[in-house]
Symmetry: D3
Subunit: 319 residues, 6 copies
């Protein structure tokens, strides 16, 4: 159900050259990368189906499966045992079938004890991504830290259940991740409407708007997030919508919203979370390469993954 080059738009290569595996040959890998080339949940500019391929290939270094960090010298790909099983074979336009396929694969990966790290695709996939992990760790047992300009808690997708504006609602409603285990960072703009914001508060979601981040400082907010997420959960799922970053640094996305984080802020924060928390899954979504002539957005997403892995490797070595 996963593979390389299965679809014309799915990835053909592993993430920066880590070993190529199938679901059956994961072995004792610590982290398993997979892609979900899925963009039919977008309500505006599509193109994120090319995200999994673009993010894996975005680099000026050779795809040799080695990425020692400049600061620490640690190569998380080796420390953690990172492999790549390719992209889930999702069919354009069949949204519910695609969600099911992704969830089955993510669950299967998590069931091996490895950390699934999913490259999107649009944000619709966080429902099966985090849901699939929760299927293994127990509904209600994991926390979710969500970086995004948008809350993605819409009640419906133009009258339907699934789309890239609703995954967090579906996760909460289904019990996979309860509202009080949610932390959101970077929200801004004019969506969703007040009724939904009220619902979010009723669920106990902790949502940090950019206004609060500017006022209190990002570090303080992340302190809160770490405390909130770490308390009582068996582990944490990190979901990064690349549009949490300002469109200046992440133009290649479907629904950019001005006024976001800098790339530097996101990278440092993500590494810290990998180090401070028990990560059980992650996804990086909404990279739409066609809107990015210099390819800087896919490159940023590539580095977000590497920084997360670096943090996790530091934690692992600190063991």
């Amino acid at each position: 159900m996963t593979g390389f080059g299965t679809l014309s738009f799915s990835a053909r290569n592993t993430f920066v050259g880590v070993p190529m595996r199938t679901l059956e040959t994961i072995g004792d890998a610590g982290v398993v990368i997979l892609g979900a080339p899925f963009d039919w949940g977008t309500t505006y500019r599509p193109g994120a189906r090319f995200g999994p391929a673009a993010v894996r290939d975005a680099d000026y270094l050779e795809p040799d499966g080695r990425r020692p960090h400049l600061d620490t010298g640690i190569d998380p790909l080796e420390v953690l045992g990172v492999v790549d099983i390719g992209d889930v074979a999702v069919v354009p336009g069949y949204i519910e079938d695609g969600i099911d396929r992704i969830r089955r694969v993510v669950s299967a990966v998590a069931a091996t004890g490895a950390v699934p790290l999913v490259i999107g695709g649009d944000h619709t996939i966080t429902f099966p991504d985090a849901g699939g992990v929760a299927d293994v760790y127990g509904h209600g047992e994991i926390a979710l830290i969500h970086f995004d300009a948008h809350a993605d808690t819409g009640a419906s997708h133009y009258g339907m259940l699934h789309g890239h504006g609703t995954p967090m609602r579906r996760l909460i409603e289904s019990g996979a991740v309860p509202g009080d285990r949610f932390v959101q960072i970077g929200l801004r703009g004019y969506w969703p409407e007040p009724e939904t914001v009220a619902w979010m508060r009723q669920q106990g979601m902790r949502s940090f708007f950019m206004g609060e981040i500017v006022e209190r400082g990002l570090a303080a907010v992340v302190d809160d997030a770490v405390r909130h997420a770490a308390t009582g959960a068996r582990g944490v799922f990190i979901s990064v919508d690349i549009d949490v970053v300002d469109p200046a640094a992440a133009p290649g996305t479907g629904t950019p919203e001005p006024g976001g984080l800098t790339a530097r802020e996101l990278l440092d924060t993500i590494r810290r979370l990998g180090r401070d928390l028990q990560i059980v899954g992650a996804d990086v979504v909404e990279v739409a390469p066609v809107y990015d002539p210099a390819n800087i957005t896919a490159l940023l997403a590539n580095r977000v993954i590497l920084e997360l892995l670096n943090g996790m490797a530091q934690r692992s070595l600190a063991g």
Copy 2:
């Protein structure tokens, strides 16, 4: 079920400024333009959901609802009574629901006696476009002339029924348009596979490959097409995939295939067909503006529509 600006990506304006209508207020319009901002049936580059808006707005002339033809002085918008009812409200990722919605609208338009002219959107929509017209004129009663680089007769869409590679198969299988009422012009490349080509021949489809067009000349091929389509049918549906034109002149599309018609050839041929045949419906599909920095593909599609209307107006006046 249709309207302007209903979705973030649907058209906000009528085609070159013709009168804005709803399905209920078509009145005695001769031609009704509508959009299907639908691109989740694409197997490669999406983006055609922005086609309906881009094609309607693509012009350097004011949107005053007047377009007298330079050659003839005829303004088909006035002669035919052309109006625009906006875009069908289709939901990203829900392909079968979208097909149903489109078909209901197209049928309703055709049932008034007007000619529905649908701006896509990916080619998936020709199943409901031509199917909706056939629902009114009778299954088996209309012919279809199909301009495309691709036959779109795939047996399945990655194992599913609907996608932009299967609409012609679905039309034939459903009996809406029998194979021997099909004419295809401009096919080339390496798809579909020989089994499907054999199936196409068994159905009696008349497929003109570019090789034959180069050898015999386009005029001769179109003579055959007119003869074939006119015989015994109550009317003809014209489906234009903009990728029938060479990528030089139509780069803004999802699956470009080198070696196609020139823009001039397509425009002249389409006008001729409007003049020589009884048109009962049409669609122009697969314009994906994001791949077209100078916007020449949407502009070409705009002119394809105007030339078709010009031919129809000449026929009407010759009445």
Copy 3:
């Protein structure tokens, strides 16, 4: 003299879907949006004539005329009564005639008691924008806060009176806005020459260069600006040249100058000004979409307008 789609390059839709009006049907609207698709005053890259259309349409949300703010839940479009009267019909190349037309429309809007909010267009238009407001409130009676990389106080436009480098000079010289009622924020670079900078000081203009902003902090500078502008004036006109923002976040403009504000800084500052000051008019200028492949500059300008309206709505409710 204003309208939608009057010119091939003028806007066809209202700002995010607010009600469409004419000058005659403004009624008791609190804010009236209008466009000035005017770019023949540019001394370098033109293209801002497409600004009014692009800024109004730049969004991934539906154009439903509703934009409740995420932080406060307030929808300023409703609170303030925001309507849109389309673009002034200006004729390319006839700069003085265009200035007259814009001034007449802006004056007429201000005369109704509504706040005119003009979308440019190049910065030439601030002469008629602020001038037209001053015609109603009294010459010398309004203050102007001007966000820009450039002072726009040039003595001449290549020997002529009007262009996008001279509007502030013309406003001061004409007495519409005296120099000591001017506050400028964000200036940087190598223009204008020292003689003009000396003239600016003689006029009592308060110009905050980026150097000072970095040194003292933006908040302190804005405190000064608020104090300066509020003192003794009947109201404040806000003029935002999008190039006050660093080219990273605002590439789509004619004369980008590296080293500017972040988008976040501008958005927060603008909202604050709307809340702290009595706004009597505003313009947002110099968005040139063709230089912005991901459309992030038009989107930023759209948000600048929404944040200004949010501040004004907060003030109004606090009223």
Copy 4:
């Protein structure tokens, strides 16, 4: 009044490196190149002010002032004595002043006996270009062959006299070039309206639409053009709007119209005209580089100039 780098957007280098001159130092040059970086007459996409710089610099060969033709070995730059006097200093937004300046320079060049060859800029400039030549050769004494998708015979420019849609009307009305000395090649589309087409016929203009060109062949049409233009005139002015070529090969222009000539057809025709006719002036207009990511349109215009010069050199040598 002309020069290099006088304005931020004017050309800084001579055409392919030919000698740099001023109006005063033309000497006995046979052909004088000059630019008119003027785009405030455009009714849609501006940007042609960068045409004079882009067309001069568009080449992968060194700017050494030598361009022997591959076919003939003739270097027309040497044979004809081609020099470049830079761009007229026109002021953005002051359309009538700009027209006057251009006309004075062109007249002055023609008065020396040299052939002025003007690089635009938008088509507004053909009024002063051809008018300035006619001022020297006598009103009514020169013919004009006009390559364009558009007739440019509009009665007004949004109510004003001058713009890029009216120069041919102004030339005829002023008597500089009578209607029966006009030949137009490549017209197509939906403008101007029938009343203007009727006026064109009344003036005795010979307008070849693309329909006739396709039907009769380009060669036959050009035979007619040559015959028509050569009869009784003291010389011929060639005006090439790059949009006569299909947008596939000339996307970088303001008002592209699908269905035009190929680049090959234009190049061959232009060379022939240079050889067959007594050329007294020429312009190449409407190159707007920002719409052309691969720079192929400026390159095409560069070659149009070289082919015209080649034809003229052949004629000169055949002398």
Copy 5:
């Protein structure tokens, strides 16, 4: 010395998914594809180092190693036994070393009896490509048909021996391919200078300029080329510089020259040559993807390869 992903810019995948091999494991493959990601021989716009990757991946079909031709149903990948050995590991800036490495690999491939098909890279590589084949078949024993806008017979590369303007000179001078075994198709423009054209004639090169092609028709010219190339040679090497095609259809190249072949003309001609001649080697060069926002140039090069293989497969089956 060859491989996949060895350099950051070398290809990571095989051509449309054909089997991956090394030089050692070619076995009895009939055609061996390899890449030369080499662009430091370019005299203008570089970028062709990304050609080998882009041309292999350019398709909207799955990379399944199957490409039955629509016209004939033949899949040349199967008929001929096509494999891919990746890219030669060439080092940027070390031009002579790179030439040596390419030549050794090409020779080694040809020595197995397989046909080497090299994807460039700039045209510098035809010296080692055709030279390497001649090393096996004998200097003087193979003919070369060269599609290009440029003769590439320059005496020097800015004073040095090797560059993309000199390979044909080097081949002739070295005796690998004598001048009278050369056929060139599509030359045009203003380079090289007359002395070089004279040298070309002295060598007995048969150069078809676009002028002759337009006049006599492409078919007649190709008849001559086939006759000339087939006479007395043991086989033919085909070298296709994508800039032989008009920039409209091939903008993504370093030195585009207006007025070239259409894509259709090139594709049909290449297939014919594969069918009519004994092909012993080929290269397709000068695709520079960064200049091609819609990726149509890499796609065209991909089809040029497929059409050549189709012709060869037809010849093979005809036995």
Copy 6:
């Protein structure tokens, strides 16, 4: 050996219009600008050969050779006596020859007492740039402050000596600039590998990673850098790789690395260094315009040069 327009890709104009000179006519100029249009040392995206032309021409102000600074009114072009001698004539693909040519020219400039300021080109050129200055001031006698995302201390360039990843190694190994006279600012990412980082420390290089800059603040880091560089050296060479800035503000480069400085930070720091240190040479490298549709990267590099000159002029006047 230097000049304007010597190569098709070399600059044709002087930096913002300063006087044009040759190596022989420098006279008593204080600063001599020259270009090195050299990009065959790049390991990924080439294109920096167009940097020297793009950086010189990047401005919306006229090229009048005057640039008084807005803050201070000082025009460093006049104060320092800045001239431009054009680009070194380097030959694509001949890397060692090119390095030699650049070094000879830089040495010759430095020998006159002027400060050479080199516009790249890729970073390979800092070996001859700083080396050429050291040839004059004495090996071991100058310090180097290096702004970059990358250390550029690689042991080899794919097995060869020279490339854009090795210049700092070559400078240290050759003794031209000893390791303990090196300061690096802005390093980040995943290259070079730990062995090289260890080697860097052994050499006494002072490398400030972004992590340290975020933690301690840029001002503190620059204090250290100034102290380190000023101690015991006869002068300082500044090398600015534009990729030290975040890709948001500098997308037009070959190897962008997310998480860098803002444009404002770089500009302010560079001016300070010019003021605080004795500058003996500088280069600004790795601007690749083709990756920068709005041209903001070349513009930033242009301002980096102006700010450096401003600082130097302030120092000179304070002298």
